[in-house]
């Protein structure tokens, strides 16, 4: 029971790392909190649902489509909202209000388009993709079904989501530490004013980070029907709050901290579900309070948060 809970927690936590990654990137670069992050995730989920319902598209090919579409949406959205916001006296606080409003608009429009009921994609859709990939590695056909890890079986969708989350973290890491745009992004994250002074086009860098942030949310959204039971237009708020707790546990502005925060959240949640299930949903808030009291900068954060 303990081993199963821990392994399930790692997989579940990796998924929440993926959710938090985009939110953290946006905060790290712009010092604004995107409260509509969960709603972009929800839109990604509905994109996957819609493509499956209309054209029977497997969710795996939807991943690059969702990422590209949402990066493309994020760029103009950045120029529409963020530069004006950053001119304000207290952009961090105002970002709460602005993105909360955006969240409400997205939820309302999606409700009009899709209704209020729960929607989902059959679980075996991701399972098929996992079985096909597994088959390529093993060299023979693999039956579609749960996947065994260390003698414990988990839904194939969880494993697919865990792998995708790991890949996303790696790609974000490579982007930040191995590309020129990444260096510039880190420079803006470190000190926006100095970056401006050295001639970096901070708006271009920030717009790209904003687009990548919501693109990552959309990728997480594709997995949402499998990881969160079902999807509804109203799911965004709850997801944002949990993601926010995850990135604070890890540390605001640090992508690797998000992975750590996600895994700690996932493992703690699954252990709570096993031993004190009625209290499981309190966990993100308890962890949040504990971290803020003991180490306000998060587990991998600097001593004083830049904000």
């Amino acid at each position: 029971m303990l081993l199963y809970s821990v392994l399930a927690g790692v997989l579940f936590g990796l998924y929440f790392s993926l959710i938090g990654l985009g939110l953290n990137l946006v905060f790290g670069v712009m010092r604004i909190v995107n409260l509509a992050h969960g709603d972009f995730l929800m839109l990604g989920a509905f994109l996957a649902f819609w493509l499956f319902a209309l054209f029977a598209v497997n969710p795996i090919p939807v991943l690059p489509i969702a990422f590209a579409v949402f990066v493309a949406v994020g760029l103009p959205l950045y120029y529409l909202l963020v530069p004006r916001l950053l001119k304000a006296k207290d952009p961090e606080m105002l970002s709460f209000i602005l993105f909360f409003g955006l969240s409400q608009v997205i939820e309302a429009v999606t409700t009009i388009a899709f209704g209020t009921s729960e929607r989902s994609i059959p679980g075996d859709q991701l399972g098929r993709a996992v079985a096909a990939v597994e088959g390529v590695f093993i060299g023979h056909e693999v039956e579609n079904g749960p996947v065994e890890i260390l003698g414990q079986t988990f839904p194939a969708a969880w494993v697919a989501s865990g792998i995708a989350s790991g890949c996303a973290v790696l790609l974000v890491y490579l982007y930040l530490y191995r590309t020129r745009l990444g260096y510039l992004t880190r420079a803006v994250m470190d000190n926006r004013e100095e970056a401006v002074a050295t001639g970096i086009n901070v708006h271009r860098i920030s717009a790209l980070a904003f687009g990548i942030g919501i693109g990552l949310a959309a990728i997480a959204g594709v997995f949402a029907p499998f990881m969160l039971g079902s999807i509804t237009p109203a799911m965004g708020g709850e997801v944002t709050v949990t993601a926010f707790a995850v990135i604070i546990i890890g540390s605001l502005g640090n992508p690797l901290g998000t992975v750590l925060g996600g895994v700690i959240y996932g493992v703690s949640y699954m252990l709570m579900q096993s031993y004190y299930s009625s209290w499981a949903n309190l966990l993100p808030y308890v962890l949040l309070i504990a971290i803020l009291l003991v180490r306000p900068s998060g587990l991998l954060g600097r001593q004083v948060r830049r904000a």
Binding site: Y4, S117, E118, P122, G123, F154, P155, G229, S230
Partner: protein
């Protein structure tokens, strides 16, 4: 002499009629809430649409007959969106009573959003028309300001289920039962009732797993593993529709096989669950058989077939599925209609008296309307059924308990 007496009688009659007409309101204000978003939207919107359908039909006929004024009066629905939030709902219930001054207060669907209405209605001495809030603790002998209309009280919902487990269960080999429930008034009460019924039966059936989870739970993989470790013969999952969707999805994806699986919503919102999970995931699942699945004989209002046709015509593009909750909203309307046709005034306790006088006599598409003295609904019972995929790949529900209404035998263990 006769002429004088006749004139006096005529004058009295005319004066009374004039007085009644003068006092009659231009409209009867019905105040209610609905949740267009959030966790309870999928159970709230069908109820709200059902109530609206009834009201629009009545208004098309010139209104509803109100005995107190001996005439038809149009209905006006004052409805606010609580977005599935109990805090918002509490404010809006107060607003309906104190600002809008509605004549009749109708709660939102489900126990969670009704729970905040119960004390508010009582404090304001408003008779609460509780549509589907079934929490047993809402109904007490000292509170005359509530009646449950379209759903049996939670404490009797699982009676057929528990009877089946304790009477038909042991011969089938069912001895060990796992109970997993969402901790809210609706399913928490049912879990307590199941425990009580099983314990009192002395049948040898024992509960080997008994755990509550928050209603917001959307992931059950670890819990399923723990249930499997308890080696139960039957697993009862008591939760709302989103809980059932997540639970059954996790059962399917994890490859866990239980010999008997019971969930609340596969029978109640079959269309919704089938859309989300597919018929294979629901095959052989035990569930309640609600009024949307049984054609009860009616003595008032449309039959199930007529209502279903009317619903699908009116809400073809509304993206709200037809199911038990859509029947519940319409049933609320029917009970209100009969109540207004019986009450001699619009005083709240007179409405209560009129409604209670219908108990046991009114038969709608939801079954027999019957209240106990506390206002809890005890008539519209929920037999136990099992979903089975037929030869045409369609899900059908087979009633397995009570034996008197059974339409087939249970399939156990689940193939």
């Amino acid at each position: 002499m006769v002429r004088r007496w006749f004139s006096a009688a005529l004058m009295t009659l005319l004066t009374t009629a004039a007085a009644l007409a003068a006092d009659a309101p231009a409209e009867i204000k019905l105040g209610t809430l609905y949740a267009s978003s959030g966790r309870f939207a999928s159970i709230s919107m069908p109820v709200h649409y059902g109530l609206k359908l009834w009201m629009e039909r009545k208004n098309a006929e010139g209104g509803v007959y109100v005995k107190a004024f001996d005439k038809k009066i149009p209905l006006k629905l004052v409805a606010y969106d609580d977005q599935s939030s109990t805090a918002t709902a509490a404010t809006l219930y107060n607003q309906l009573i104190t600002q809008d001054k509605v004549d009749i207060l109708i709660s939102d669907s489900g126990s969670v959003l009704t729970s905040v209405a119960v004390p508010i209605a009582r404090d304001h001495k408003m008779f609460l028309i509780d549509q589907t809030g079934t929490g047993a603790n809402f109904f007490t002998a000292d509170n005359p300001y509530i009646a449950l209309i379209a759903d049996p009280v939670s404490s009797i919902w699982p009676k057929p289920l528990a009877d089946f487990l304790t009477q038909d269960g042991p011969p089938l080999g069912i001895k060990r039962v796992a109970v997993l429930y969402a901790t809210n008034d609706f399913t928490g009460t049912q879990a307590s009732a199941v425990r009580k019924f099983i314990k009192e039966s002395n049948s040898g059936v024992e509960i080997v797993f008994d755990q509550g989870v928050p209603t917001e739970t959307s992931n059950y993989t670890v819990l399923l593993n723990n249930i499997r470790a308890a080696n139960p013969d039957a697993v009862l999952h008591l939760g709302y529709a989103p809980n059932d969707i997540a639970f059954l999805r996790n059962v399917q994806d994890s490859g866990v096989k239980f010999k008997l699986l019971f969930c609340v919503y596969p029978g109640i919102e079959t269309e919704l669950l089938e859309k989300n999970l597919g018929s294979k995931a629901l095959n052989y699942v035990f569930t309640y058989v609600p009024s949307s699945q049984i054609a009860y004989e009616t003595n008032f209002g449309m039959s199930l077939k007529e209502y279903s046709a009317e619903w699908h015509k009116k809400y073809a593009n509304a993206q709200v599925e037809f199911g038990f909750n859509s029947v519940a909203g319409y049933t609320t309307g029917l009970v209100l209609e009969k109540t207004l046709a019986t009450a001699t005034s619009l005083e709240q306790l007179e409405l209560r008296r009129a409604m209670f006088s219908l108990s046991g006599n009114l038969k709608t598409l939801d079954g027999t309307f019957e209240l106990d003295p506390t206002g809890a609904q005890i008539g519209e019972i929920t037999p136990l059924g099992q979903l089975v995929v037929d030869d045409h790949d369609h899900l059908k529900i087979v009633t397995v308990w009570p034996h008197a209404v059974a339409t087939g035998k249970p399939i156990y263990p689940r193939p």
